[in-house]
Structures are given as C-alpha cells and as structure tokens.
Amino acid sequence: MPACPKTHGILFRAVLFALVGLFSLGGAIAQASDPEPNCAIQEGACTQSAGNRTVTLNILPKPVRAMQELTFRVEVGGEPPSAPPVIDLDMPAMEMGPNQVRLRPVNATVFEGTGVIVRCPSGKRLWSATVILSETTKAKFLFRVRY
C-alpha cells in the first residue's frame, strides 16, 4: 500500500518533537542533579588521590573568579609524572566545549599554567578541574567559582 505523505509528515514531526524533548529533559535533569563540591578552592589548595599518587590543586588569585586569568598550580605527590599534567575545565552536566590548561614544570613534582574559567549565564557556579596525569590516572576537583 502506498505511504500517505501526510502521515509521514506527522510521524516526522512527532519524532523531532520527541528528540528535542528528550534532549531538553535530559539536560534539565542533569542540571538539577549537580554533584556537591569536593574542594573549597576559595579557602585554599585541595588534595585528591589519583592511583598511588596524590594531586594537590591550587588556583590563584583568590577569590577564584570566572572571566579572569587564573594561575593553576598542581603538585604531584609520589612518583613524579613522566610528562606535565593537563587540566580539563568543565561544568558538571553542562557541555561547555574543550577548555584545557597546559601546565609547565616548575620542578619535578610542581607544575603551573594559566587559564580562564568562563562564566555561564545560567548563573551556575559549580566547575570541575580534572588533572590528567595519564590516560588512566586522573584527579577530579569540584569547586564553586565567583562571578
């Protein structure tokens, strides 16, 4: 039996509606369930474990504000990494695009680099900085920035 173009049109729009609805709903649910911070970066440096190492992150100057140039300082405890770590900056449950801070070695275990945390017009302030030592060794810091 030949397909009815009108039925196809309705089906097509229904599928589009469902897709857009799912994306929007997914985004809203993800945003509503923001995790709690695990780092009080406004107070000082934070330490997390990554494999058999410890990673200490500090961001300067204080208070840590969005839209200004910041210095990211990482200290690795335990075996020194073979290459300088990289920091991935992102918002939990919000795609913000690739924002990486490249670190340079200050000595064998301390690394520094500059970067910017951008401001989200939604008003959300929770950011994550994932210090990547290797593909499998990472430390994730969740903290609030000021606007």
């Binding site: 729009r13 985004g27 140039e69 795609e95 913000m96 690739p98 951008v118 017009p121 939604s122």
Partner: protein, 230 residues
Amino acid sequence: MSAIESIYLVFLGTGFTVGFGHCIGMCGPIVFTLSLQLKHRPSFFPHLFYNLGRTATYAILGAAAGWMGSFTRLASGLGGMQKWIMAFAGLVIALLGLGMTGWLPLGRIFSNAPSLSGLLGSAIRRLQRSKSALFFLPVGMALGLIPCGPVYTALLAAARRGMEAESALLGAASGSAIMAAFGLGTIPALLILSRVTSASWLRHREWIYRLGGLAMLATGIYFMVKGIRY
C-alpha cells in the same frame, strides 16, 4: 591532517554537540519566537539567515580575539554590552509574548497587527513590510552577542590561536575560522528545533499560540533578569 586544521573540526564537532544541549536551552526561546511570528510564511530561510547571522557574529568575535591574542581583554570590552543585549532580547521576547496573549495590542509581527503609533509601532510596521528572509541576518548578528558559556570557551581557543600565530592578521584569520566552525556546528540543532516549532498545527491553534505567548513572556522576563544581573 595537521593540528591547525584539526582544531576547526574539533570546534565544528563541539558546536554540534553543544547545539543539541546548551543552544536549544539558550536560543530555543528565540527560535520559538521567530517560528510563531512567521505564521503564514515559509520559515526555513528566515531561520537559516538568523543562524548565519549568529555565526557571522561569532566569526567577527573570533577575529577580534585572535587579533588581540587575549580572551580577557575582549571579554572585558564585551561584558557591559552583552548584558544589555540579553536584557533587550528579553524585553522584545516579553513584548511579543504579551502581544500573542492579547494583553498588548501588538498582534503578530508579520500578520495583521493593529496600527501603533510611536517608535515601537514604526519598528513593527517595518517588520511587517519586510518580505525578505535576509532581514533575519542582522537579527541573528545582534542576538549572537548574547552571553553564552560555550561561545566563551571557543573564544578562548581563538585567543590562544592568536597568541601562537606569527602575526596579528594570521591570528585573526585563525580565530575567526575557529568561531565560524563552532557557529556552523550549532546550526543543525537549531534548524531541527525550528522545524519542530514551525509545525503548522502548532502555529495555527489559537490556544497553543496563547500558551506560547505566556511561555515567551516568562522567557523574556528570565532573559531580562539574567541580563541585568549578569
């Protein structure tokens, strides 16, 4: 493929994924507004030109960031302007929403709105006379200045590219290309959304039209508050 070329693909892909999440939330109300105002007109080209206008603004901002080689310098210059553009966009969306609910005698911009006097009336009559989809290019260009986190992230990359470039001109070209790739990547999501919101049964049902007006009013107020507090 060199690293320089791959960064454009990265931001094209970033724009594509960001488009389906962030942009639908942020620009969705604008797309919805355009669709409802284009009741009797084909909507594909107006939406396309709105998106191309937005992308053109991103490319210009990318060129500026690449030329300066500094994101923070550009952002400090833009900050004040962007908050008022967001607040103004909110005001326009709220006014159109009020018109759609019938609480304000604006009518549909592109159909039979009652004649109004003053500056607003003149602007609306000009919109009514506009038959060209090209009108939506400057609309998109202006609305492309609305503050947006992922746009800032792409601008950071444009500024970094400018810092590493051999000359300010090369930095501007590279920054502009990154932002253009990002903007083009966001277009499919918003065009799909425009297709959904342009559904004729949606635009021609009076109660949906009025409900849309209320949604626009709420969105407009949200944009205004966010803009003023930004």
